[in-house]
Subunit: 305 residues, 2 copies
């Protein structure tokens, strides 16, 4: 609760990578990129959504469920060792098998001492051609969360969540100074270039707007590369991981879909100052937001004619 | 409730103007610009926030309250005549005197037959240096609304509301295909150019993100020009009125702060299609949004550590 410049800065990173069908090589690749980012000063590193494999949700197949693992489980433990060694916080997205028939699209939040601080389970589950996630993922039941890590208080949402201002708001309201969005998003090959550009721009400005509305940093970590594990045309994952500052400015971005990482300094005093400069939290009309918990406002619920 | 291309298109416009201290000349100027936009095909025209005068909220003075009028009242009636004559829907922002000591920052929604369809009263009231609105404006008590006009279903929010995703969401949920934002926003003279650029960009992307999140059109009508009714340095109103489409694309924009208008076709079938392509309304986690009606999530309310 420091005021303007009395709190400690830290550095966050988004890792962008391409993912193969081989779990071991994906884990090795992720580890290599995390090590590089940490050597460069990153203290909290976020990996892309379910980076341990290709994006299997391009089709519905019972085989897909074989890719899941428990949290904690082998990948979590491996990343816990890495976090401990590097003294780095890690956001590790995994396909979680919670129980027979209960699978989640999750992220393990691992603190810098290697402890498993918590789990986020993707709340908003998409389902559209090539992204058949409702078949695989039970909607999360842990809500929108923040965790106090060794370096700062962070929240995690996953991919489709990024389109919902409600998710960003609730995560920020739970205390996060940084919202991490592990992501797997791309274009259907052959998408009209103007539409492709508009899709990417809509994606980016939506998350930058979360920064503005909530006066916080946003880190989006996406995968790159063309994948077609299910045949068909596959998906061109567009990469373009980025970090926006509490003013919504693009602070760091990876051009195109190459592998790599970006690092950004997070200054909690900038969050503190921004939320006083633009005091949106002060002015929310909580007496008038009840409708947000409804599906839609039909004529009988909607004010006006 | 048509599906993909069976509904009627219409044309909306934002008027951008400079405002003097003389109410009569502002009304004449607004009328001139509305006539021009209507002659150009606009069927729903939005004027900037409290366009009948200069932005008096730059200081706190009892004198400011003298500028208020009732709705209906002289300006509403004049605009009702204009709407009837031109067969055009008008969104007419006015400083409303509702009763002794109860004043609102409002907008009259006038249908194309000249009838007063409804009133929106600004829900989120800012207060920061140069924008002392909490002194003048009682927060609105009519909620977030939509109205079915002769041409299409629209909602209206005002200025500061534009920073709150909750306002856009609730207005869209009440059925609006177009969200109108009459606005009075500008720079403090001498603002660092990079910061000024960032402020404008944050403003624009926040509203474009409302288009994305809600699959609807957004129309922002701002004023231009330098005003210093209270002395001091005044405000450079930045103009740059714009319209975004349901994909969040910038569809029309007035460069700089010159007077004029922009017109955009609104196709309800594009809203219909966009909300199927990107089905965010389907996937909202209304079971997990209760926290949005709270001021903040303190440790005891917040999930996570």
């Amino acid at each position: 609760m420091a005021f303007f410049g009395m709190s400690k800065v830290f550095h966050v990173a988004a890792v962008q990578m391409r993912c193969s069908a081989d779990r071991e090589s994906n884990l090795e690749n992720a580890e290599r990129l995390v090590r590089a980012a940490a050597a460069d000063g990153a203290q909290i590193v976020c990996l892309p959504e379910i980076f341990t494999g290709q994006y299997f949700c391009q089709s519905e197949s019972v085989e897909g469920f074989r890719l899941a693992e428990t949290i904690p489980g082998p990948s979590t433990e491996r990343m816990q060792s890495l976090a401990r060694e590097l003294e780095t916080v890690l956001v590790v997205p995994l396909f979680e098998k919670r129980s027979e028939g209960v699978y989640h699209n999750s992220a393990a939040i691992i603190d810098a001492d290697g402890s498993l601080l918590g789990v986020y389970r993707k709340m908003h589950i998409p389902d559209d051609p090539g992204y058949y996630e409702k078949y695989y993922f039970t909607p999360g039941d842990l809500g929108f969360r923040s965790w106090t890590t060794h370096f700062g208080r962070i929240g995690v949402c996953i991919c489709w969540d990024q389109w919902f201002p409600e998710a960003a708001r609730l995560t920020a309201m739970s205390g996060a100074h940084v919202l991490f969005y592990p992501t797997a998003i791309g274009w259907h090959p052959g998408t009209d270039p103007e539409l492709a550009r508009a899709q990417h721009e809509a994606w980016q400005i939506s998350m930058r707007a979360h920064s503005v509305a909530n006066g916080c940093y946003v880190v989006a970590a996406n995968r790159g590369g063309h994948e077609k594990p299910a045949g068909g045309n596959g998906i061109d994952f567009w990469g373009r991981s980025f970090i926006s500052d509490p003013h919504g400015r693009l602070a760091a971005e990876i051009e195109g879909d190459r592998e790599g990482y970006i690092i950004q300094q997070v200054d909690p005093s900038v969050v503190d100052h921004q939320r006083v400069e633009w005091p949106f939290f002060r002015d929310r009309r909580i007496d008038a937001y009840e409708g947000l918990t409804k599906r839609f406002l039909d004529a009988e619920d909607a004010p006006g004619g």
